[in-house]
């Protein structure tokens, strides 16, 4: 990096060493480096996910942490040295910052010293840690851990009539999508895409939590699917249109009374959870991220696979022994 900083030429008074002028050329260079490092740190994290996924090598957790933190450190040094001009400044300012990082280091280190060595001698010191908390006194938690309470509340919602109807239809659409996906027929691929999108949209958390379904879901879904079929038809894909229309008919044909009776909240919950963890669910609409999706997917490949890789390695007796 070129040092094109010039010192101020004409200053009427005394020491002008703090009046360094950092020119736009150097600033642009620094900006370029900073952007480069941003790309680098993202790439680093993504490559790690990729390696784990494609090659099957799980890198130790500290590779990820040290990589990300050292890149962040380099970036922050660049910002401080050039944008904040510490490099041209009175060294006392740098010293102040170093002291501050040192104090921060002490804070983290000694706090960690305690929290990571609980129960080293006596088990009772690490205590009966209730994973996720006891929930005592938390409104709406009923003395359960918070995550558990959230599940229970959600299941109560799933049992509500309107929601139930909506999800029964959604499940039907999803079945149709799956069937289409496995079929070799003409237009099946396009139909599968349309139906999957529809199912995904219906099973989204938004659809259940944010805008709770209203009565008459069956008719609404049928109308939606028929509209989709018409669109496909006008595009000239009659085969796909027919498949979608068939799905609409099958939704129409659901016997709600009977379906309700065989509806299982637990099964529905699992279905929704699979959607959520499968990465199809993204709470910001269609913008679904491949990176996170794949990461979330690795998380759901079996309960054991999800147990944190470094919980065992770090060896403290406090962390991950979640009570079942």
């Amino acid at each position: 990096m070129s040092h094109s900083a010039q010192h101020a030429d004409a200053h009427d008074h005394g020491e002008s060493h703090s009046h360094a002028i950092v020119g736009p050329g150097l600033l642009r260079t620094v900006l370029a480096f900073l952007l480069f490092f941003t790309v680098l740190t993202v790439a680093f994290a993504q490559i790690e996910v990729y390696v784990e996924h494609a090659v099957g090598i799980r890198l130790p957790w500290w590779v990820n942490v040290i990589g990300a933190m050292s890149i962040a450190t380099v970036k922050s040094v660049l910002v401080m040295a050039y944008f904040m001009q510490l490099r041209y400044d009175n060294p006392i300012n740098t010293l102040a910052m170093l002291f501050c990082f040192f104090a921060l280091g002490l804070f983290l280190m000694f706090t960690g010293l305690d929290l990571f060595s609980r129960g080293m001698v006596y088990d009772f010191k690490s205590g009966p840690v209730i994973a996720g908390g006891t929930g005592a006194g938390v409104p709406g938690a009923n003395n359960q851990p918070l995550t558990q309470a959230a599940k229970v509340r959600f299941k109560e919602r799933l049992a509500e009539n309107n929601t139930r109807e909506w999800l029964i239809c959604a499940a039907k659409v999803e079945d149709a999508a799956n069937a289409a996906a496995h079929s070799k027929d003409a237009g099946a691929a396009e139909a599968a895409a349309v139906l999957a999108a529809q199912a995904h949209h219906m099973m989204d958390l938004h659809a259940v939590m944010v805008h709770p379904p209203e009565a008459g879901a069956q008719a609404v879904v049928v109308r939606d699917l028929e509209a989709q079929a018409n669109t496909l038809r006008t595009k000239g894909n009659a085969a796909a249109a027919e498949l979608v229309a068939a799905a609409a008919r099958s939704v129409q044909g659901i016997d709600m009374a009977q379906a309700r009776a065989s509806y299982s909240v637990e099964a529905m919950f699992d279905r929704l959870a699979a959607v959520a963890h499968g990465g199809h669910h993204e709470d910001h609409g269609a913008a679904s991220s491949s990176g996170n999706a794949s990461r979330a997917r690795t998380g759901v490949t079996g309960v054991t696979g999800h147990a944190a890789p470094h919980a065992n390695e770090s060896g403290h007796g406090h962390g991950s022994e979640a009570t079942p």
């Binding site: 900073l34 957790w61 918070l146 299941k155 770090s314 991950s320």
Partner: protein
């Protein structure tokens, strides 16, 4: 600190600036202000230190919650916001350069750009992260309502996430207020080659905001 003599000379305000009487000269005053502000910045870093400490402790204790939590964030918004803040830092630094060279108009343009990037950052944060996440129950502590948590400590992750990013966002807003004030005063020619302490200091504050984000971004979005 600043005493502006009210003599009716035709020089711009910055050229008429006289340092406060307890300083020997303007350079010393400038130096003192900068040292004072750097000390203030250390307090800001240590304020966030509390958040970093909570992150560090709970990440080590409950790594699965942290892995799950960062998996629920979308790195593209984090990276996008990183770029936005880096650009704003750049425009801020350039505006200081322009003031040093008495290019008032260019300085104002750059300050406006900085303000724009700051607002963009907040918009992305709010519209693509806070609102969608909050509405599906990805909330801190007692307010947690996300049904598909696998790790029992996921609410803690959201506590750290929201505390860290919200306090950071508050700093973005304060920084924007400071920048707006500087911008307004540049229109009155308060700052120029021999006097630009407030611009410099506002710049330092803004870079600090960037600096904190440089660490928050990988901690929250990339580390898993």
């Amino acid at each position: 600190m600043s005493t502006l003599s009210t003599s009716s000379s035709s020089k711009p305000l910055w050229a008429r600036y006289k340092p406060a009487i307890h300083f020997r000269n303007a350079a010393e005053e400038f130096d003192a202000c900068k040292l004072g502000f750097w000390l203030f910045l250390t307090t800001e870093v240590l304020l966030f230190g509390g958040i970093f400490c909570a992150y560090f402790i709970f990440r080590t204790l409950y790594p699965d919650a942290w892995k799950e939590g960062s998996g629920l964030l979308d790195w593209r918004f984090g990276a996008g916001n990183t770029v936005v803040l880096l650009l704003s830092s750049y425009t801020m630094a350039v505006s200081i350069y322009c003031i040093q060279k008495d290019q008032q108009f260019r300085a104002q343009l750059n300050l406006i750009a900085t303000l724009f990037f700051g607002a963009l950052f907040l918009y992305i944060k709010l519209a693509y992260e806070y609102i969608p996440k909050w509405s599906v129950g990805k909330r801190p502590g007692s307010m947690f309502d996300y049904p598909f948590a696998e790790s029992a400590h996921l609410p803690l992750w959201w506590s750290v996430y929201y505390c860290g990013t919200a306090i950071h966002a508050a700093h973005v807003i304060i920084g924007m207020i400071l920048i707006a004030r500087v911008l307004w005063r540049t229109t009155k020619r308060h700052y120029g080659p021999t006097h630009y302490t407030m611009v410099e200091i506002t710049g330092l504050y803004w870079h600090l905001v960037d600096l904190i984000w440089i660490f928050l971004f990988p901690l929250l979005y990339l580390i898993h």
